[in-house]
């Protein structure tokens, strides 16, 4: 029978997963994987959080059933998740003005957000993404049928920090009701975050322009190591009475990458609206995957709801973010030690898992092909993938690709 699919063209491999597959297949013993945003310990190994290991054993012993969760997920998980994001003193939570649903990690939450806006905003509503942004943002919104994907200026090529003047200008010029993705902290891929004062200005702009904000919250606890601090932007917006959606992921901060634990939170002005929104989340989710996976949510809930384990978790977060901070310093020191052309203090100024090195696409290709150092073509490296042993090697490789590409 002639194939129905004969006309299907081959799509380019996903920028990240394609690179990850290449890295996993590379047998070179000195390879360094700085591609995926997954934490590694100082031996470059995946790290299972101690609190998760403990909790896995406890869950296995408690012989829980494997029944379907409700469409919007595990209720106790959703409650803890919203509290983690908005804080113990959140008025929105106290007044029942939030709608939540457990989602397939951060991607799933963003897709639910996109589907929500696709139903309740005009088709032509533009979606504003930072320039640059996480590789998958565009795919998610295109998948929901949005055709106008715009960029707002974000990364300043010279300072390698936030181009705040450009960002403010672009967001001020965005049409009323535009959808805007803002990353709460530890910006992926640049590691450049707005300051508290800049967030206050952003809140003004979003409020005045009636922008539809979606906060991408994939790194709470990973930026400064402090969960409350890292949630500053979201809590500021709540305080200001701005309505928004927030998309949480537990992939990084609990190391639950493969378990796909996440949550979407809508902060609104009344309990009635929140109820309506929650029902619409369910209408979106049911024909997508019916209900979310139970295991990750049980793990997260167990950690968040037990004060002792939660405390241990916050300490592990400090260790992880601390190691990342140390690697930033070590890499910068190594680069400067061997007189690598250019200035490198953005490595320690930037925050979170990633650094936007400033290497161009050709140089990045050379890092991969010549030096077996896996990094994104954008120049992004995952600092979490560095170790004391590999910083010198990576610095030398960077110097080599910069000087030989001249």
């Amino acid at each position: 029978m002639a194939s129905k699919w004969a006309s299907v063209a081959t799509a380019p491999a996903d920028a990240l997963f394609g690179l990850l597959a290449k890295s996993r297949a590379d047998t070179c013993p000195t390879k360094v994987d700085l591609s995926v945003g997954a934490y590694r310990d100082d031996e470059g190994r995946p790290y299972l959080l101690k609190v998760i290991e403990k909790t896995e054993k406890a869950l296995a012993d408690s012989k829980l059933d494997k029944e379907y969760l409700p469409i919007d997920g595990f209720v106790p998980f959703r409650a803890e998740s919203a509290k983690l994001l908005l804080g113990e003193n959140s008025k929105a939570i106290a007044e029942n003005r939030i709608a939540t649903a457990q989602t397939i990690s951060g991607t799933g939450a963003l897709r639910v957000a996109a589907e929500f806006y696709a139903r309740f905003s005009p088709r032509e509503t533009p979606v504003y993404l930072s320039n640059p942004t996480w590789v998958n943002h565009e795919k998610i919104f295109k998948g929901s049928g949005f055709t106008r994907i715009e960029q707002y200026r974000y990364f300043h090529a010279e300072t390698k920090g936030v181009d705040f003047a450009g960002m403010s200008e672009d967001l001020k010029a965005a049409p009323e009701g535009s959808i805007v993705i803002l990353q709460m902290c530890a910006h992926n891929p640049t590691g450049a975050d707005p300051s508290k004062e800049e967030w206050q200005t952003l809140a003004d702009i979003c409020q005045q322009n009636k922008l539809n904000v979606i906060f991408d919250c994939a790194y709470q606890g990973y930026a400064t190591g402090d969960l409350e601090n890292d949630a500053y932007a979201v809590r500021l917006f709540e305080e200001r009475g701005i309505e928004f959606l927030a998309c949480q992921s537990y992939s990084k901060n609990m190391g639950l990458y493969g378990e796909r634990a996440g949550c979407i939170v809508a902060v609104t002005t009344s309990a009635d609206v929140a109820t309506a929104i929650n029902s619409q989340f369910k209408v979106i989710i049911r024909p997508m995957y019916s209900n979310p996976p139970v295991h990750g949510a049980r793990l997260v809930h167990a950690v968040l709801s037990d004060p002792k384990i939660r405390q241990e978790w916050t300490e592990e977060l400090k260790v992880m973010s601390g190691r990342i901070g140390k690697m930033r310093q070590t890499l910068q020191d190594e680069l400067e030690k061997i007189n690598t052309p250019g200035s490198w203090n953005h490595i320690t100024k930037q925050i979170g898992m990633f650094s936007f090195t400033g290497l161009n696409a050709k140089q990045c290709d050379a890092m991969v092909d010549k030096h077996h150092v896996y990094m994104m073509k954008s120049g992004r490296i995952s600092i979490a993938g560095l170790s004391e042993k590999t910083c010198a090697q990576v610095a030398a490789a960077m110097k080599d690709v910069i000087t030989t590409s001249e």
Partner: protein, 426 residues
């Protein structure tokens, strides 16, 4: 004066919650968002939970229960889980399409060891978010590359419609259930296959049709397969009960074998929710058989883009359990026992229900209860009779008369039969 009237106004406003809520609602940018319709099946469980009568029965549930009416975890699953926990595996991201080893092992279960397209590499497959997720990938892929009219059986699983509609596809039904015989309306089915536009998509339930429990015989499947072939229809198979229907996974895959041997390049949604009792873990696969290995790269790459934009990569916990069981002889043998036990209990309940209806004095023909197969029984009761069951007997089921046999036990089957007899006798 102004101050005191303002104070009394604010007191009145704060006492009246309704008044206070209204302005806040209108201030919201989302005030135009209506409350969505409730899921009809869940409504049954909600009503059941609220009922305090001790005789209450929940026959709406689409999940297996043991003879005490309790949810179970399969023995093979418990053993596999213990093994996995002891290994302390890291929780890294699976690839977008899931771990290839798991997917290929899962496919062998569905397609058998001797499936030519699989052996020749003429297929692509991804791990999916159980059956719903697999169907959604299929729908999204069809919408993007070859939008076809989608035909689902009448009746079918309620969620089928929304999955395809939300993906922007047109959905219609094909004749399936014969209310008179309480069996298959083969002629109607064949006629609808013939009348559909060439190259439409036909969704077929692989076995244990939900909600009717009515499956075509082997001979009927062969006829259906030929009819589908004559029209060049794309066959999308929904396999959610392999092993659960007869207790024999190979027997339950007969329809898939017939279709593949006839040359259909099927799409297959494979769910492990029921047959492995992994409901909440969302384990499944979506596969597409292809003309030629040269198509694999293209189709796989596009499916990955769709999956990446919905959930990035699938959850690993459940797939690890399935993979462990399927690749370990002792665990696999245990699973065969587990699945046979579940299927046998359901078959026994069907027989008990028919026997009890007879002893309750019913003279109606209830043989369809034992003719039908799988988790569900289309009892033939009308919405009015169902309402009586709910309101007078505290027995909960969906208004189409669908009984989940999983909710029937040797302890409650007598009560159920009495009640059914009461509401169906004049």
């Amino acid at each position: 004066m102004l101050t005191s009237s303002l104070r009394s106004l604010s007191r009145r406003v704060s006492r009246s919650r309704h008044l206070a809520a209204a302005p806040a609602r209108f201030m919201s940018r989302w005030s135009h968002v209506p409350e969505g319709p409730k899921d009809p099946i869940l409504g049954v469980s909600e009503a059941f939970n609220a009922d305090t009568d001790s005789r209450k029965l929940n026959l709406g549930v689409g999940a297996y229960r043991d003879d005490d009416g309790k949810p179970t975890v399969l023995k093979s699953v418990e053993l596999a889980q213990a093994q996995i926990v002891a290994q302390v595996p890291p929780n890294e991201y699976a690839p977008i399409g899931g771990e290839k080893a798991f997917v290929d092992t899962a496919l062998k279960l569905a397609y058998g060891e001797d499936c030519a397209p699989l052996k020749e590499g003429r297929y692509t497959a991804l791990q999916s978010l159980s059956g719903t997720g697999a169907l959604r990938l299929a729908a999204a892929f069809m919408q993007r590359f070859k939008p076809m009219k989608v035909f689902v059986p009448s009746p079918t699983w309620g969620n089928h419609f929304k999955i395809f509609e939300d993906s922007g596809l047109e959905v219609e039904t094909y004749a399936y259930y014969d209310a008179n015989t309480k069996g298959l309306n083969l002629q109607g089915l064949l006629a609808d296959i013939d009348q559909a536009p060439d190259g439409s998509a036909f969704v077929m339930h692989a076995c244990a049709h939900n909600p009717t429990g009515v499956d075509p015989t082997i001979e009927q499947w062969k006829e259906i397969s030929q009819a589908l072939k004559a029209k060049g229809h794309f066959v999308l198979v929904d396999s959610a009960y392999q092993g659960f229907a007869s207790g024999d996974p190979r027997k339950d895959a007969a329809a898939i074998e017939i279709l593949v041997n006839d040359g259909h390049q099927i799409g297959l949604s494979q769910s492990f929710a029921k047959n492995f009792g992994l409901y909440g873990h969302r384990v499944g696969t979506f596969s597409l058989l292809l003309d030629d290995t040269s198509e694999v790269a293209a189709v796989e790459s596009q499916l990955k883009i769709l999956a990446r934009g919905i959930y990035s990569s699938p959850p690993i916990h459940g797939s690890r359990i399935v993979h462990t069981i399927l690749t370990d002889k002792a665990l696999y043998d245990q699973w065969l026992l587990d699945i046979k036990e579940m299927a046998d209990r359901i078959i026994t309940m069907r027989r008990l229900l028919v026997d009890n209806l007879a002893s309750a004095g019913s003279t109606l023909d209830w043989s369809h209860i034992t003719d039908q197969i799988g988790m569900f029984c289309f009892s033939g009761m009308t919405p009015e009779q169902v309402a009586k069951l709910v309101n007078e007997h505290h027995i909960y089921l969906t208004s189409n008369g669908r009984i989940s046999m999983a909710g029937v036990t040797s302890k409650n089957v007598g009560y159920l039969a009495e009640a059914m007899h009461k509401v169906t006798s004049k």
